[in-house]
Subunit: 173 residues, 2 copies
DNA sequence: ATGTTATATTTGCGCTAGCAAGTAACTTGG
DNA sequence: CCAAGTTACTTGCTAGCGCAAATATAACAT
């Protein structure tokens, strides 16, 4: 299997193994790294496709609505959303544009600070987010957890927790 | 720690835990899933940023050049590149546009098939890809492997290998 | 030979994403 | 009280990505 493994690695990790070679990373390391990125890519593609098809929501849109759904009064300021979600404020502003268009949320002037805008979930939005969360949850189970045993899940959770520990937010702006 | 863990999960996985709740996924499952996506996002952002800053290459561009670098005669057809890289052909065509502009590769008519185009690495491209691979390899070690022990790497490699096993290509088009 | 179907690539469009610049409003030091 | 600096948001721009349509060539069946 070592030969087949090496072949796999050469294919999937070709972009950082130079002509000089394989000494750069071990086969296992290459698999761990490229596997992580590739798994994330496929999972995202698959799940976001379902979400888009069934509810017309991107991942970010669902994340935003989901955060509103658990916030007091269904309301959060855009800045808070951006920080929470690790997105730029400009992106959040435009996601909100789209959701407001569809009347899933409303922009409201913040009474305490005239600069600030509250995104506020509508009844329509609250209904949709519940449905979409159900779709998404089912998709996650189907595409991810059904293929993993308990031990693997435990280990992944522990590994990612430690990796993300020194967590500066992923978006600077 | 269970309380803090639950808090973490509520924050990071808020988008699929509805008002009704936490019953949907276990805390560990939520961490494994969101951790995967978040880790991938940060890693990509960090590494691609370095690559862009030092060599003006995106991840895809490096992948493409890297594949040419190990191909016979530094040459591959666009279709092959697209399949290998899990990108759409249209995307590959445009990445090639950019790299051709910078004279890191050339488009050549395939002698055997007048429809096909070969992307062919130039000397400049071959030099750059080696440098960029070095940068990238160092970045991967620094941002990823330095934070993991041997056992974790082994486990990640095994898990992702089995997850990606039934691997239909991630890009349909 | 020739029409049909399949393959290879390019181009137009729409989406997500961030950064930079612009505007409005809050805060603070003098 | 007001000028300088900070914060909140919006808007214009760029880049990556895929899909769908357009074009050109190949392969195949009649």
């Amino acid at each position: 299997m070592s030969a087949m493994l090496a072949g796999e690695v050469a294919t999937r990790a070709g972009y950082f193994l130079g002509a000089e070679g394989v000494a750069c990373l071990s086969a296992e390391q290459a698999l761990a790294f490229t596997g992580l990125l590739e798994t994330s890519r496929r999972l995202t593609r698959e799940l976001e496709g379902e979400l888009e098809a069934k509810h017309g929501l991107s991942f970010s849109a669902l994340g935003l609505l989901g955060r509103l759904a658990v916030a007091p009064r269904g309301t959060l300021r855009l800045t808070i959303l951006a920080q929470d979600m690790g997105l730029s404020l400009s992106r959040v502003s435009r996601v909100v544009d789209g959701l407001e268009e569809r009347e899933l949320l409303e922009r409201q002037q913040c009474p305490a600070d005239a600069r600030a805008i509250n995104a506020c979930l509508t009844a329509r939005g609250a209904t949709l987010v519940r449905q979409a969360q159900a779709t998404h949850g089912a998709g996650v189970r189907r595409h991810f957890f059904e293929k993993l045993d308990k031990e693997q899940v435990r280990m992944l959770a522990a590994t990612f927790t430690s990796l993300l520990d020194g967590a500066q937010p992923s978006c600077v702006a």
